[in-house]
Symmetry: C2
């Protein structure tokens, strides 16, 4: 077997010298694998929501045309990076071969069912046949093969949880795992976008860590999500607010914390212009964790400087060691989480 | 005196409910001040470089036309936020009045000479007369007044350093002060963009903190800045590289650190697509501090996830408590820094 690079640069065809994600074309020949690669027999592609919506619109919703577009993307690039949205997704499949250099190093075995947690936008993929397109969940069942690089992250699908339930939580596994690392006993934690999928997981984990002497405040958007989160009982306070309005939200948080503000603010909301709200409601010595992909780097940096806040602002990293295990464990330990996830997402 | 809001929202005319920075128009009437404001008699506007370059281009370099544009900006907005670049700058002036509510709370006295370290893009400003335009340093001397809000940050101009020298360092005061907080004895620190103004300050501070058991590596761009930084002697290693090429830079850093990589990487370089390089050269347990305003939030977030790196990525905050004092002190204690700053910037 040929020696591969940890990050998969050995598969990059052009431009040379870049990593697989920004590459325009990567090698998706799977007849031979490199010594540090894992070959996956693919069952389902979980297309990124923005990507699937875009492809479906281009195809006018016609499944045969969706198939044509998908084949064309992979033929051109060797991977399924949507050329218009730039986004990928993840995949589900079974371990078929393990490169020689990984034997004894990886905990995977041939036959293990896994979900890759690295983006399809960098994953070598070959599609032999498209079997079924499930529009409502952006999933496509295929016959095909994919490569997981040595640095690629994955989760083994647990035997004791329904597959769809596990997948729905793995999709946002980074958020609750990072919350677990950040929140200390006694902390006041504000979660913006608390009523969504990652928001609910973060609220549960934050309360677990902050404990009885801490305080978890969930900011929601709709009345429906407010009622749902209130009923779950993970938060000390829940209120709906427009997170783009810093002054109004600040007044509310001041009232709920006797003017002390948050030690940790976790921003999960996928709309623009919520940086300033996140900064203002957080103590000078506190931390804002931005999980929202709508975060503007410059608005955050200049915003904090503009109001003289010494807050630490962290770029949300979707990966942290053990994030998949941590998140699946939450579904096992909380019946409430398991039920609401089953109802809404599985 | 009327009671003011800490962040200056009492000056916002429209749209209502936002902070002074995003506001389209703020109140620049200085005849009366609010109880928590400081009135400044302005001497010099230090226009943001992007803003000044833009205004000068629109005016075809003609000073009378530059004046017209500047008067028009302030007449429309009540502040000097360039409508095309969105950026501001800082100002230099003398404290003229202190609001009643700040007496005993602020350490400023009437007559103190200060530089405001909050952006002109949120500072109420009145220009009575434009006296001199100094193109080469983006500075404009005026007769006028400005308001510093209660949350506004500033630095007192020290008596023992030349004014221009002090200003040139205050402009980037956040970077070395954050370096001081991040770097621990024995750390390996890589500074990207090490040959520039903030880069040199960071290298000096990093070596001071990392100490004899630590290692500071400076990545520069041109041969000129490489030679200059090498001569200064703050770094253990200096090399020129294209920071947009992650694989090549990674190989170099692996060689210099026996494969151990960096504990702390500080990115000061103002070009795009350097996120991946910053992530790859940093340990899984390390920290990347992004000071570059060219940083893309999504490229950083998705980049780390794509290569399975658990690195902590921090959004550069131009403010941290004591940053002006910390940075001015560096110029006092290092003759080498003082000389190179005097030669290049003062």
């Amino acid at each position: 077997m040929k020696k591969g690079n940890k990050y998969g640069t050995h598969r990059v065809i052009e431009p040379k010298g870049v990593l697989p994600q920004p590459a325009n074309k990567i090698d998706n020949n799977m007849d031979e694998i490199y010594d540090n690669e894992i070959l996956i027999d693919v069952q389902t592609l979980n297309i990124d929501s923005a990507s699937f919506t875009d492809i479906s619109a281009r195809a006018g919703g016609d499944h045969e045309k969706i198939k044509e577009i998908m084949f064309e993307i992979v033929a051109t690039q060797g991977k399924h990076r949507n050329p218009w949205t730039g986004s990928g997704g993840m995949l589900l499949g079974t371990v078929e071969r393990i490169g020689d250099a990984l034997v004894g190093k990886t905990d995977l075995k041939i036959g293990d069912k896994i979900a890759t947690l690295v983006s399809l936008s960098l994953t070598p993929l070959r599609i032999d046949n498209i079997k079924e397109i499930r529009d409502e969940v952006d999933q496509v069942d295929i016959d095909g093969k994919a490569i997981l690089f040595e640095s690629g992250i994955y989760a083994r699908i647990p035997a004791d949880l329904p597959e769809k339930l596990a997948l729905s939580a793995l999709d946002v596994a980074g958020a609750p795992a990072q919350t677990a690392k950040l929140v200390k006993p006694g902390d006041t934690v504000v979660i913006i976008g608390a009523g969504g999928k990652s928001g609910m997981l973060c609220c549960y984990e934050a309360k677990k860590r902050a404990g009885i002497t801490g305080k978890v405040i969930g900011i929601t958007h709709s009345q429906k999500s407010t009622d749902r989160l209130t009923t779950l009982g993970f938060c000390d306070h829940v209120f709906p607010a427009d997170a783009t309005q810093p002054v109004a939200v600040l007044e509310k948080i001041e009232a709920l914390t006797s003017g002390q503000l948050a030690d940790v603010t976790i921003n999960n909301v996928n709309i623009s212009d919520t940086e300033m709200t996140s900064i203002l409601i957080t103590k000078d010595t506190g931390v804002v964790y931005f999980f929202s992909m709508a975060t503007s780097f410059t608005k955050a940096a200049l915003g904090a400087e503009g109001v003289g806040s010494d807050v630490t602002m962290i770029v949300g990293n979707g990966y942290t060691r053990g994030h998949a295990e941590i998140t699946l464990q939450l579904l096992r330990e909380s019946e409430k989480l398991r039920n609401i996830f089953t109802e809404l997402y599985a």
